[in-house]
Symmetry: C2
Subunit: 201 residues, 2 copies
DNA sequence: CCCCGAACTTGACAGTGTCAAGATTTAAAA
DNA sequence: TTTTAAATCTTGACACTGTCAAGTTCGGGG
């Protein structure tokens, strides 16, 4: 439904993908409109036929990356029977994503202001897709643990915040921790109700 | 011990403070060396007498802000008798700091690479000062709860990650959550051992 | 007193985002 | 098919950025 090849042949998508490559190579700070244009073999002002701003290109790039992120999260819980281990896999996938692409976290979360509706279920604002995966998986777990539904919001935000915090500390700040991160977010899962495998040393 | 007033009178400190003002007004993206210089009434190259880089000025600014952050955290636990409520206050202070200065989080954590030693207690790398406050307060609580010391590291990272995650989601991303954040990180504190005041509605 | 060196200014350079004007090509209309 | 309009891309310019080299000014130690 979009633009078909004119002169270059699907610039716009090429700009988006090349821009993402650039960020992965040189980091968010090394990004520039003119570099992307040069890498695509077009003149420095060519992007303005497809994006009114650098911000708009960055937003389109962020959308693309967000989609990959969502796919990655979904894949991690697909086929998982046990809700508890599904949550564990989800957290692992969340963190692995930002560990493998350290530039993505500042890029996704400090760039254009996404607004994530968390609370009032779908009132206008569409839920942030990765968060939606998070929510459905979490609710499944909470039901299986027999948690009271009033605590859903609190527990969901706790788990999401913790996983996001770990990803944040790992990928951006220079935090070194020799312990097992998986144990860290298990702390919340355990607190849900069942106390499986506390340390038994 | 530093430079005394020559022409301007304590530029360097003025640059640092003015730079921080700029970031609070225009955000991290609106920051520029030349703007800071202009705001200080000096020429655009004057900062190079005190900093070899923009990065170095930013690093000095970050140090200054980090100190304020540490003071704020320490003040929040001062005089608190009950370890549990001390931890609550600490988390509140952590988040309040970044809520009041939304530009600080990307500035502190995505700028120059601080390295935070978490695990092996003081082996070379000095602990990140705000984290040090966190650690001592947390350990006090864990002891009062009778937690096994082997779990100290895990519990500490869990609590820090969660609080940092909440601050991150609140101040950078456009997350809207109508619930009570304080309840959110209480989830971890409860999971420590005692279950005080679960919802009773 | 003089003079050395630290602090600051001036002017230049390459690189950035953005826009206006023109050239080129494609799709649609006649 | 020829003509026309719109989309795409280029070129050149502007203001702004960080950085550096060369000068200028000023203060304190000889």
């Amino acid at each position: 439904m979009n633009q078909k090849p004119y002169h270059h042949g699907d610039l716009r998508n090429t700009l988006i993908e090349t821009g993402i490559e650039l960020i992965n190579e040189d980091g968010l700070g090394g990004f520039s409109l003119r570099k992307v244009a040069a890498k695509c073999g077009v003149s420095h002002a060519a992007p303005y036929s497809h994006f009114k701003d650098v911000q708009q290109l960055l937003a389109a790039m962020a959308d693309h990356v967000t989609e990959q992120f969502t796919v990655s999260l979904q894949a991690s819980v697909e086929g998982q029977e046990d809700p508890m281990s599904a949550m564990g896999e989800l957290g692992t996938a969340y963190i692995a994503f930002f560990e493998q692409h350290p530039a993505y976290l500042p890029f996704l979360f400090f760039q254009s202001g996404i607004t994530i509706q968390v609370d009032g279920v779908e009132e206008g604002v569409p839920a942030y897709p990765p968060f939606a995966v998070f929510r459905t998986t979490a609710y499944r777990l909470f039901r299986s643990l027999g948690l009271p539904p009033e605590r859903d919001g609190t527990m969901l935000m706790a788990y999401w915040s913790l996983v996001h915090g770990v990803a944040s500390l790992l990928s951006s700040s220079g935090v070194r921790y020799s312990g097992n991160w998986q144990e860290v977010w298990q702390v919340i899962l355990q607190s849900g109700g069942t106390e499986n495998e506390t340390d038994r040393a």
